[in-house]
Symmetry: C2
Subunit: 392 residues, 2 copies
């Protein structure tokens, strides 16, 4: 295998406290990274870097682990620009929100869905994302959910079965019947393609008992739970996630003290995944990241990329919001967008730049990772390596 | 001269109400633009486009006028990452704010300042900015202010003399003496390079009487006034800008009813230029764009790009903030970032896509300009023409 040395890195974030300055970011100044095949082979001071087959001069810029976007909804078709425009312009809009996307997704061909997914993945990669999770949830029939997951599984290892996104409009008069479908025939059809099972636990979607049934059935089929929890209102989602040892409770916008305590106690098991793009695009209140971190919870940042409530694929944008509006420090936000996302996906091979880790790296057109918050909106990612291969 | 036709434009923003749908944006669907040399020669439905020497297929994407960024501070050296990091992390920081930049700028060579300017201009251009204003204000000596303007004037027509950014540290005990310098020897040295004169009218910088003296002296030397007004607190800046027929009152964060009325009455003369990047990066309150627009004021959007309080060069980011946090509609925000900026610079040749206008255009990787707010943080600008030449 050929080796590549990335040298002359002004600031390297390793996320390995054993390396560098001893902080959670494991920051090394004047650093180098040597990649061997798909893997990081060596990390340390540039002056001590071993020889490599090829050399890339970072020219005094920063290198970070590729972003781990642990929450997105990218298997969809259709467009909701008019709905967004009306909402932000204070005009009423009669069309059907998520149902618009469900109808368009069902009507799309496999090729259309895959092309749309690939377009968004390429866009995310250009912004530094090297690992992403994505979900079903716009099909809501056995066949449409299964094909969404099949298409997703061709492009990522992190596939989530979200038949329980909303109660299918086809079951508007029989939500219990839809839960039976989601925990029965639909689960059987979907489980082979998925690693995770998820549910939108919220008033108007699925209540605590329904969510428990869905997650428990998914777990029995070999899927690991994650939960859309406490986004729009207080509710049982976070407590359920912790009780069922879900990998993450996502959104966490409306939390009681007991919810925060539960997430802190479960810091090694259940990650609080915050999705500030959703609050930005719906003008909602911000999750209180400071409170969660200070209590000891493990926090991840993710885009929630979807055409309705958070149509951003930009992890740098989420970092800038997290710092400005959720009171995370620039260091915490970077960690949560990389190592935090890896924790939320229970992955130890990504989210760090340490020997043995997958060689997923982003080069910033800036001397420090702090610039991701200091320079909001500016496209700073200038090169990306994915599994050791230059992808951007 | 060669002609280029840009065809198959899903949504073309012209900012010419006489074209298209009759709205202020003059939106045309299924449009084409023909460029002849540096100028727009024809605009209309794609089906009626005249023949051209070369054809660019927009493939169903949107085209907008290039952004007109009417307020930036790009002649500087040095870095304030540590200060930003401390501020956002809730840590105290003892270094000197703007004085840090003044010291670094004075110490820089001409070549260093020019390289830094060009790097930021290139970065802005990749994000769709085709016209920009920039200022002095980090030199604060006769020689350093004049060289800042000389360097700026080599790269833009819109150069602003801001010797009155703060009272120079060299005159800490003699602010009146500094005003004498700014209105005397420094003005004489700077006026040949500048079109505009500006002052930071604010507690701790220059009061109303000082600001009036500086702007009046600048006007007598042939410069047109613009004012940093009402950013950090209520004050006389906006009223002074209107009274002196300044081209713009910039920031407008703290406005009385009388200030709003004055800007509405002066809508044809003095533009209210809002700079949400500054409020974002300092966690300050948002300017009330809705109140200004509803009163009848003319509103521009700009980046305020500078290393201390708003280190973004991204007009798309400012649009997303304007919609989310300042309650502008996506249409209003787009207008303010293009035609509004042109009004703030008293330019009729930019900010529109209409026959005779300068051929400054941005192609978005999206079907509609609304996506600039709908898809926050995502780098959507995929091609830029400046004076008819493909620049990105």
């Amino acid at each position: 295998m050929t080796t590549t040395a990335i040298t002359n890195i002004a600031g390297l974030v390793t996320n390995d406290p054993a390396l560098g300055d001893g902080s959670p970011l494991g920051l090394i100044e004047n650093a180098a990274v040597v990649i061997d095949g798909e893997t990081v082979a060596w990390v340390g001071p540039a002056a001590k870097a071993p020889a490599a087959d090829t050399v890339f001069d970072a020219a005094g810029r920063a290198v970070i682990p590729g972003f781990v976007d642990s929450h997105s909804h990218l298997v969809f078709a259709g467009d909701r620009t008019a709905e967004f425009n009306a909402r932000m312009s204070g005009r009423s809009y009669s069309a059907g929100g998520i149902r618009t996307t469900v109808a368009a997704t069902r009507a799309a061909t496999d090729a259309e869905l895959e092309a749309n997914l690939l377009r968004h993945l390429d866009e995310a990669r250009r912004q530094g994302t090297t690992t992403f999770e994505t979900k079903s949830g716009y099909g809501l029939t056995v066949a449409d959910e299964a094909r969404a997951l099949r298409i997703a599984a061709a492009h990522t290892e992190e596939v989530t079965y979200l038949g329980a996104h909303i109660v299918s409009p086809d079951y508007a008069e029989d939500p219990a019947g839809y839960v039976d479908l989601v925990t029965g025939e639909m689960l059987t059809a979907c489980a082979p393609y998925a690693r995770w099972v998820d549910v939108f636990c919220e008033k108007g979607a699925f209540d605590g008992d329904q969510a428990r049934a869905i997650l428990t059935a998914g777990a029995a089929a070999g899927l690991i739970p994650r939960v859309h929890a406490n986004q729009l209102s207080y509710g049982p989602g976070v407590q359920l996630a912790v009780e069922l040892e879900a990998a993450s409770a996502d959104h966490c916008t409306h939390l009681t003290d007991a919810d925060v305590d539960a997430l802190a106690q479960a810091a090694d098991t259940t990650v609080a995944t915050l999705l500030p793009g959703a609050e930005f695009s719906t003008r909602a209140q911000w999750p209180d990241a400071r409170r969660l971190i200070d209590a000891g919870a493990t926090v991840a940042l993710s885009t929630d990329c979807n055409p309705g409530s958070s149509y951003t694929s930009s992890m740098p944008f989420c970092i800038a919001l997290a710092v400005r509006d959720m009171r995370m420090t620039p260091d915490e936000a970077l960690w949560s967008a990389t190592a935090g996302g890896a924790r939320a996906l229970r992955r130890s091979d990504v989210g760090t730049v340490t020997p043995g880790a997958r060689a997923d790296l982003a080069l910033l057109d800036a001397p420090s990772h702090v610039h991701l918050a200091y320079r909001p909106g500016v496209p700073l990612v200038s090169a990306v390596w994915q599994r050791g291969v230059r992808a951007v």
